[in-house]
Amino acid sequence: MIINHQLLLLIPSLLLLLTMVLGLLRALRGPSLQDRMLSVLLLGTGGVGLLLLLAFMLGQPALVDVALVLALLAAMTAAALTRREAGDD
């Protein structure tokens, strides 16, 4: 069963990883900080997907918890970037 999943899911995982690499080019190029942040958002969503695929391929249900934590914190970095402190105009 698990071996079966490995064969079925490995190719999708590789392709997903490649799209994440592609998206990261935007983080390198910018130009603005917000553009780079978008690329990190994509990496976060893709990372959740990849973790779920890994959980099934490796037979490690605990990795679903990791994906859950990543999903919970997805908005934190964007908020840390954009929220304004009391002194900001």
């Binding site: 064969l7 990883l17 690499v21 890994l54 918890d65 934190m76 009391a86």
Partner: protein, 323 residues
């Protein structure tokens, strides 16, 4: 076939993490460096998952991908926005440093390859497995942290306490955030309770599945960061006195348990038979609270506004004036 595909996945992941690390440290533009560092942390969490280390992946997902990015982004606000980039030291010093780094890396790689070739078949991993049933927990990582190498963990908590004291000593908190708008406010409203519940869940399952005090503490701290980002200046931390108790409770409970068992004729931190599970849970609860408070305080960046209404504010002002 499967093996080669795994190899390819490993090569892409390893190549990407090195490329991101390189790009993050090679950026003269700090904004770029920090965003790439956050991406680096995310990728590292995936790599821990790939290397069968779900305990680490949990901690990294909360800390590497969340907390440290938030910390660095907050620090970025203090950087002067002059537009000119300070960048790197150049010239012969740079060349010498590059050569030095290459030599160090080469030496480490050489040693690793030798260690890899001459690997001792008897590993600590086997000892961990053999004694696991006496450790009081069935998650090997928790067993190592709180039973076999409890001394290490005690000292680690002491290091965290020292860091927290240092942060409290150097100055007041960063300015608070403006109150959240309706959309982000709603997100904080739903997310914070969820983070706390899942933190509690991770603390509980840590005995037999990936999770434990460090992951739970990190999640509680993430809840505090979300609260602060939503406009709560104290990040949900209690008043100054309770805060200090929370900071020391990890080390205090750890040492008390260690000393209490010596009364029964055992060595320091050598749990009596049958009691390990309960004692470990007790220490872990205290450690979770201490870790969460330390990390939340680290994000706030100093004594929280709640604790500044007393004499200390005046003291800080006087101190500032005398500088």
């Amino acid at each position: 076939m499967v093996v080669y595909l795994w190899n390819l996945l490993d090569l892409v992941l390893a190549g990407l993490v090195v490329a991101l690390g390189w790009a993050a440290v090679a950026s003269a533009d700090l904004k770029r460096g920090i965003v790439l560092f956050i991406a680096f942390g995310l990728l590292l969490a995936i790599i821990w998952a790939r290397l069968n280390a779900p305990d680490l992946a949990l901690a990294e997902a909360a800390i590497g991908a969340g907390l440290s990015g938030a910390l660095l982004l907050a620090a970025l606000r203090d950087e002067p926005h002059t537009g000119d980039v300070i960048g790197f030291t150049r010239g012969p010093v740079a060349w010498a440093t590059t050569v030095l780094s290459l030599v160090v890396a080469g030496t480490v790689a050489w040693a690793l390859l030798h260690a890899h070739a001459a690997a001792d078949p008897i590993r600590l991993a086997d000892k961990v497995t053999v004694h696991l049933e006496h450790s009081g927990v069935s998650n090997p990582v928790t067993a190592v942290l709180l039973n076999y190498r409890a001394y290490d963990t005690l000292l680690e908590l002491a290091v965290l306490l020292a860091a927290a004291l240092g942060i409290m000593a150097v100055g007041p908190a960063r300015p608070a955030y403006k109150p959240a708008g309706p959309l982000f406010g709603a997100l904080v409203y739903w997310l914070v309770p969820l983070l706390i519940v899942i933190g509690g869940y991770l603390l509980w399952v840590g005995a037999h599945a990936p999770g434990g005090a460090f992951q739970a503490g990190a999640l509680l701290a993430a809840a505090a960061v979300m609260l602060r980002l939503g406009g709560n200046p104290a990040a949900g931390l209690p008043g100054p006195v309770a805060q200090r108790w929370l900071l020391v409770c990890g080390v205090a409970v750890f040492i008390s348990v260690g000393l209490l068992v010596t009364v029964g004729g055992h060595a320091f931190l050598q749990y009596p038979h049958g009691w390990s599970g309960m004692l470990i849970l007790l220490i872990e609860i205290a450690a979770t609270l201490a870790i969460a408070t330390t990390l939340a305080l680290a994000y706030v960046g100093g004594t929280t506004p709640a604790s500044q209404g007393t004499l200390s504010e005046q003291q800080i002002k006087n101190h500032r004036a005398s500088d």
